[in-house]
Amino acid sequence: MNFDLNDMQSMLADSIEKYISNEYDFESRQKYAASKQGYSTKVWQTFAELGWTVVPFSEEDGGFDGGAIDLMVVMERFGRGLLVEPYLANIVLAGGILKRLASTQQKERWLYPVIAGEKQAALAHVEPQSRYDLANIRCTAEQRDDGWLLNGAKSYVLNARNANVLVVAARTSAGTSSEQGISLFVIDPASTGIAITDYATVDGHQAGDISLLNVSAPKDALLGEPGNGFAALDATIDDAILAVCAEAVGIMQVLTDKTVEYSKSRVQFGVPIGSFQALQHRMVDMLTGVEQARSLLMWATMVNANGSEDAKRAVSSIKYMVGTTGRKIGEEAVQIHGGMGVTWELDVAHYFKRLITIGQIFGNSDWHLDKLADCGPARSR
């Protein structure tokens, strides 16, 4: 029974923390977010050089052989630093599909350059009508003699703007909502028939909507077996949920710390506002929320790392808690910062927006609570 990081994990945590505190202040972050790419190429190169992009990949793939716990360590620190670099899109989402399904040749062409920081990748799985249902895919891929023909529309494709590796979920058979018949493809987003409408998102990140009109893809664009892609998609999104929840816990910690600090220095009516009991109790609730979320994150990450039967339930549990408790903490942080809390100038507002965004993606709290309502009996001991 222990909740400590091992030596490797501690070193990883230290190196990220040191980098953020020395090189990645809030002003830089805002500058990168507002840039054409929406992140800093230089920073991304540094990630690759320092070995952070290899964390969730096997040694065979040139990786760190890290598990869910290592990814949690990375993402929590990224949350604290409010980083905008497309780690989720490249490493967890597109990288998650590629590491699970790609052949050696496919990995060499598509995955390894991404891990090395030479190429940018994106995963297109959300559709305009799908909401949070991963199996709700209308985009089609028809088999032709020389390969595949893709048609359909994709929404909220993170890092679409920069991608030169595009992983697409499409239906090769069966109806619209079946888990059967879903296949994954990796294609060049510069292919004829692909139109990307990219946009900034409220949290300072960037995404895009993609239309695919008679897009021809070669035979070897298919990842894995045709029609059997759902399991890899589902597992990748579970990884992504754990990753963004770790990021959220980092953000919740920062918001709580900043709010408590602010309440000690902000004077109203001749006293620091932190002396008001009405605010003290609310900040204690924030602390309680952070600690509860951190506990649940640790549990969810551990049971997923060791493949326990509680894994699915754990993913929905932490996502539900981050969606509800995270929202509460974000709103309280803004409220207690008063007028300053609603300004663009203050970092708190941007942490808040990222936290709300995390609550909104990969299934919101209602979606996951509904899954929990369907879960079988809890293992009581």
Binding site: K264, V284, D285, L287, M298, T301, M302, S317, R381
Partner: protein, 400 residues
């Protein structure tokens, strides 16, 4: 990071689990299952059973008769006891006054009191709170005036749990009123409940139960030898005692049993009704409480792991009482939802030993649901209300 127990810990868990599964007398088990309150004799017999097994005083050092368990073993033991729905022990002797006596008492006091606490020969109760003192314990007014070779005790203690059964009471009383801080001048005194001048008056709680009492002291003569430690240091000793009270204060194991029971019950067609499982709102509420409870369980384990490895627990430990009582009260409310109309009949008589179960109203102990709900409102009030807990966290953890 690793949340698993070691093989030795698992073996210990199995041993404790087997004990609770096999050794609780069937007559006692039957009462518990029928929702019948167990009386003084049942409680004492049960505690003696634990003593014979070496399970009664997990927190005591070996030299005073404790089992020498690790922090993790104590946790496993408390969890298994709750999971087996075995009766809780009455903490006032073994978990409260006992540790104060072996930490601060004289050799004479240790010899005189500790064996009877271990063997449950003497029933202790707690004399801390007073009418009007609420969560502000240091405002206590009970006086212990020195008169020759004894103290003269005058005052009133309240919320004295099961004081109607008690042989002895430990009391915080003022031995000096000329002090700079209210916390000074308070002494820790042991009093025989049969002493002349003591009267016990029941307080009936909103569920109709007689669980707590008011205890009046009128010119009660207590020998000086019953003072524990130094005069005027009672507040400090009392705080040590409260640390022992912190053991298993989240009630996670008990809450887990209750949620599991609700989940099982949700699949049953009680009285021919549609099973609650098809009520999405109910199942979502159940799921949401499960999330909080799982988080709390891990928060509890994080605290435990810190203590077990010799570190001071972090800020997570401060939220255990608040969150533990909140979750328990959420379950109380959800049980009310499940029982519906059948939470409402007020029929305490049917939980008497000789009542014919065939004549009962409600499914099993269903009509106890509301009584439990009402009774357990106390949980967020006693031991320093949750608001006081938040004040403490604000001051000592957040530095506000």
């Amino acid at each position: 990071m690793d949340i698993s127990f070691t093989d030795q810990e698992l073996a210990f868990r199995d041993e404790v689990r087997t004990f609770f599964a096999e050794e609780i007398p069937s007559a006692l088990r039957a009462k518990l299952e029928r929702g019948i309150e167990i009386g003084k004799q049942d409680q004492v017999d049960y505690q003696k059973l634990l003593f014979r097994q070496g399970y009664f005083a997990p927190n005591w050092p070996k030299e005073y008769g404790g089992p020498g368990w690790t922090t993790i073993q104590k946790y496993i033991y408390a969890s298994e006891m709750a999971a087996a729905e075995a009766p809780q022990i009455i903490p006032f002797g073994v978990n409260m006054v006992g540790p104060v006596i072996y930490s601060f008492g004289s050799e004479e006091q240790k010899k005189r009191f500790l064996p009877d606490i271990l063997e449950s020969n003497v029933w202790w109760c707690q004399g801390y709170s007073e009418p009007g003192s609420g969560s502000d314990l240091a405002s206590l007014k009970t006086r212990a005036d020195l008169e020759g070779d004894h103290y003269l005790i005058n005052g009133t203690k309240t919320w004295t749990t099961l004081g109607q059964y008690a042989d002895w009471i430990f009391v915080l009383a003022r031995t000096n009123t000329e002090v700079a801080r209210r916390q000074e001048g308070i002494s820790f005194i042991l009093i025989d409940m049969s002493t002349a001048g003591i009267s016990v008056k029941p307080i009936i709680t909103l569920d109709g139960a007689h669980e707590v009492n008011e205890v009046h002291f009128e010119n009660v003569r207590v020998p000086l030898e019953n003072l524990v430690g130094d005069e005027g240091k009672g507040w400090t000793y009392g705080k040590v005692l409260l640390q022992h009270e912190r053991t298993n204060l989240t009630g996670v194991a008990h809450s887990k049993v209750r949620l599991a029971r609700l989940r099982k019950q949700a699949g049953e067609a009680i009285r021919g009704a549609e099973p609650l499982r098809s009520d999405r709102n109910f199942m979502r509420r159940l799921g949401a409480i499960d999330v909080e409870l799982k988080a709390l369980e891990i928060t509890d384990l994080r605290t435990l792991a810190a203590v077990a490895s010799g570190k001071a627990p972090g800020p997570e430990s401060s939220i255990l009482k608040i969150k533990g009582t909140e979750v328990a009260q959420m379950i109380d409310a959800l049980e009310m939802e499940a029982a519906g109309y059948y939470a409402l009949p007020y029929v305490p008589a049917q939980y008497q030993v000789n009542f014919d179960d065939a004549a009962r109203i409600g499914y099993k102990n269903e009509t106890l649901t509301s009584l439990r709900y009402f009774n357990n409102r106390k949980a967020s009030i006693y031991g320093g209300s949750n608001e006081i807990q938040k004040n403490i966290v604000a001051k000592h953890v957040l530095g506000l």
